[in-house]
Amino acid sequence: MEYEVVIGLEVHLHLNTKTKAFCGCKAEFGKEPNTQVCPVCLGFPGSLPVFNKTVLDYAIKAALALNCKVQEYTKFDRKNYFYPDLPKNYQISQYDLPLSKEGFLDIDLDGKNKRIGITRVHMEEDAGKLIHREKVSLVDFNRTGIPLLEIVSDPHLNSPQEAYEYLSTLKSTIQYLDVSDCDMEKGSLRCDANISLRKAGEKELGRKTELKNMNSFKAVKGALSFEIQRQEGLLDEGKNIVQETRLWDPGAQETAPMRAKEGAQDYRYFPEPDLPPLIISKEKIEEIRKTIPELPKQKFLRFIKDYGLSAYDAKILVASKKGADFAEECMREYRGSDKKMIVNWLIGPVSSEANAKNCAISDLKVAAKDLIELVGFIEKDEISNLSAKVVLTEMINSGLPALKIMKENNLIQISDAKALNAIIEEVIKENEKSVNDFKSGKEAALMFLVGQAMKKSAGKANPKTVKKMIKGRLANA
């Protein structure tokens, strides 16, 4: 049976404000447990929340970047449930009047654009972290009260790959705004998924499962792929899908149902009486809109247009804002005739070095002008591609400019015909057999001769020049 896959994602982002959403505690990651707490975020009796207005500014910025309609009247609500990581046993969240709704995010699928609807973007507070030991469970309240943005997509995603693309685009979009680190490892980006299958062409949605505990984009993809197979299997056998929450087990590479709760959760939402509603002026919204930089999708299209990049190359270069700015400086300032060279270097060796260091290409210690200089040498045949890669690594390690490294390591390529002539004469003299082989039509013999010349020059000869010269010399002989 052919099925259509329907996926909706619910993403939670930590907003990177200095302090928590409703108290003055620092919101830093990785501190000693329970050192960033106060009576308010610990939910002590008598304490009251005070809204951190920066949270609103950041949230509006994100909502606008996701093309949402920011509401002029919004409020906080209490979501009531008991859990030891939630000190008040209710979470301050937003229910029926969220900050914003009806947005979208455009994603690129192999050069084709797809628009994914955003149902809503709202603000809430994070809970603490439970640490389970053998006989006890401990609670770290440092995370309690850190501002979260919840971004709910419409069920517009139809494959694990689309979900992956959506998450990547969302992540880079938010990172461009500098309102969240979006680091899944640190828990500053978390993602839950709703997935259901329906017979191709059918209008009504099938029964869905909710997937949790996915700690990377890859895990999201893996969990969704597993779930598709599992649901397909059940539907093919004519069985029903049980509507439930399932946890991804990265070890077993499968999802399993979460332990069932007693009855259905009723969060008993009601307006938070400790916080007055928020009135957001049109002026404020417009002011914040002005601070939104060019977003990855626009940059992607502009790079293709302005620098003649392929969609593939452009997507890699716009992934981070810093990286894209660096790449653009390189492409703009490169004075060589072959612009493609600098692009290839950015996508190739430079990106590889950055990936190895898990940073953006702009975070390598290489200035744009130094990279431009290095690639210029390559284009002018003053260094071989191979040597240039060695020089690049050294530039990153030492921070020195290319020319200095090339000189110190004697890596400047010999392209000068006079200097190469003697070497070539020697090689021809010493390899009579190969010379004859070539003359009798064995092309491979030429490469052997070039190799010999390279060896004699200790790798410094320009192989292209050598090849041309040997070919010419033997043709005349």
Binding site: P39, G43, G46, N80, P84, D266, Y269, F270, L275
Partner: protein
């Protein structure tokens, strides 16, 4: 000299004239408390707090010209247990002061080392729902002092305190003030910071003074009022000098008398005492006219939906995890259940269940949402009256103090004793209860004066004028 009998402003004068010292006042109070509090039970005595331990905590005890204040057990005092008279908060010693306590300390005022008794979490109108036993009305020890700030009202009435702080969610300051023959004021919602007041119903709660006369009430309001950045619902409206409102003049003041408050259920004796008081004000130059507050009949149900809904959420944090009482249990859920089963009293459980029910899926629209809408209508009733009138006068309670145990078995009857005070909280208005007479059985009756939001000055003006022309506030119970 029996210093404990004096008002705060009398003592402040004596302190200024060096006729007495803070220490003398304290000793006088201590003797008084030792003498009679075993009968009144207005103060909470936890195992570690007895009469011989230091009574007063203040950063600035040496400050002269100030007199100690007694504080209800639901207002956080740093280093001094604050348990809302509930087993579930047993041993809770707040690491911070409520904003009002901070302000009092900054004014040099010593905080009395014993907290006053109350209905558990302020749930009640009689101070019978306390884990420390009921408080007795100093005017008749068989009667309740009202509630939930019954402890604060009783100790002020019995001269066991010079003045006190209470909290008022549906009448919890005014009704006990009326029952005990003292002055009790519920400020406009937002006038006094709620930070550090252990919440019952966040949209209704206010801290306020319980004092021996109107002047003390104004002095205390001058200290505790004002915007607090730690309470987002506090107002930044300017705080006037309330002492300046203490004038003996009600000429031209227009009083509205809501007809819905003078109906069946109002004790005829109370009714005639109130009417007499209104007549007194009229002879002093005020005028009165019957007005209508048409949605009055909905106030009690609306209040019990909104207040219990908020309470069910506010009290969720008492789960045995971080502080207070914790019962055993092999699993988390078992620990939660046993802690709350054993830690909360009957009335607390009743209200938590009521509140959780009205917020539940499928019931929210019919109960909570509708209650919010009717609350707006109730507020609009008052807005309309205040367009033409300076204040509204009503009885504080339909009856004088009732017998201990009389209404315990009938929660509905108990809830109805707040019928005249509840609307004020729903509308966020300021209101004061002042003594205005006694029943034949010798129990005090309270007169309630209401004004527009942030017009406490009107309350002080009318109340002070009445007081200047009557002797009720000077009557003392014989305990």
């Amino acid at each position: 000299m029996e210093l404990y009998k004096l008002t705060a402003h009398e003592l402040i004068k004596k302190l200024k004239n060096k006729e007495t010292s803070a220490q003398e006042i304290l000793s006088s109070l201590t003797i008084r408390i030792k003498e009679i509090d075993s009968k009144v039970n207005g103060y909470v005595r936890r195992s570690k707090e007895n009469m011989d331990s230091p009574l007063v905590r203040s950063e600035n005890d040496s400050h002269s010209g100030t007199v100690p204040i007694s504080v209800k057990d639901n207002i956080c005092t740093e280093g001094l247990n604050t348990e809302c008279c509930s087993k579930i908060l047993g041993g809770f010693n707040p690491p911070y002061d409520a904003t009002v306590i901070k302000k009092l300390k900054e004014a040099g005022m010593p905080i009395f080392g014993l907290k006053t008794n109350m209905d558990e979490f302020a749930f009640g109108s009689s101070t019978e729902n306390s884990s420390f036993g009921p408080t007795h009305n100093p005017w008749n020890l068989e009667c309740v002092p009202g509630g939930s700030s019954g402890g604060s009202a009783a100790v002020v009435s019995a001269d066991e305190a010079i003045w006190a702080l209470g909290s008022d969610t549906g009448g919890s300051i005014r009704q006990p003030a009326a029952f005990c023959g003292v002055v009790g004021l519920k400020p406009t919602y937002g006038r006094v910071s709620r930070y550090g007041l252990i919440a019952f119903a966040s949209s209704l709660d206010q801290i306020g003074p319980i004092t021996k006369d109107v002047e003390d009430c104004a002095l205390l309001m001058n200290i505790i009022s004002g915007y607090d950045p730690n309470d987002s619902t506090s107002s930044d409206t300017d705080v006037p000098d309330y002492a300046k409102a203490l004038v003996n003049d009600v000429k031209g003041i227009k009083i509205g008398i809501p007809k819905e408050y003078f109906v069946q259920g109002l004790d005829p004796e109370v009714k005639s005492i109130i009417e007499e008081a209104i007549n007194k004000l009229k002879t002093l130059g005020a005028s009165s006219k019957e007005v209508s507050l048409p949605h009055t009949q909905y106030a009690v149900p609306v209040y019990y939906i909104i207040a219990t809904a908020e309470a069910s959420s506010n009290l969720a944090r008492f789960d045995g995890v971080q502080y207070g009482f914790r019962s055993g249990g092999l699993t988390l859920i078992e620990m939660y259940k046993k802690t709350r089963q054993e830690g909360f009293g009957e009335e607390a459980k009743r209200r938590i269940i009521l509140g959780a029910f009205s917020l539940s899926h499928g019931y929210y629209d019919a109960y909570y949402l509708r209650a919010l809408k009717v609350r707006t209508l109730i507020k609009q009733d008052f807005d309309a009256v205040f367009k033409d009138f300076d204040c509204i006068i009503t009885p504080t309670s339909p009856t004088a103090a009732f017998k201990i145990g009389e209404k315990v078995a009938d929660p509905l009857k108990m809830y109805l004793s707040d019928i005249y005070t509840i609307s004020v909280n729903l509308a966020g208005l300021p209101a004061v209860s002042i003594p205005c007479g006694f029943t034949k059985k010798g129990l005090p009756v309270g007169l309630q004066i209401l004004a527009k939001p942030f017009n406490e000055e009107m309350l002080f003006r009318v109340a002070h004028t009445y007081e200047e022309n009557s002797e009720w506030h000077k009557m003392k119970p014989k305990v």
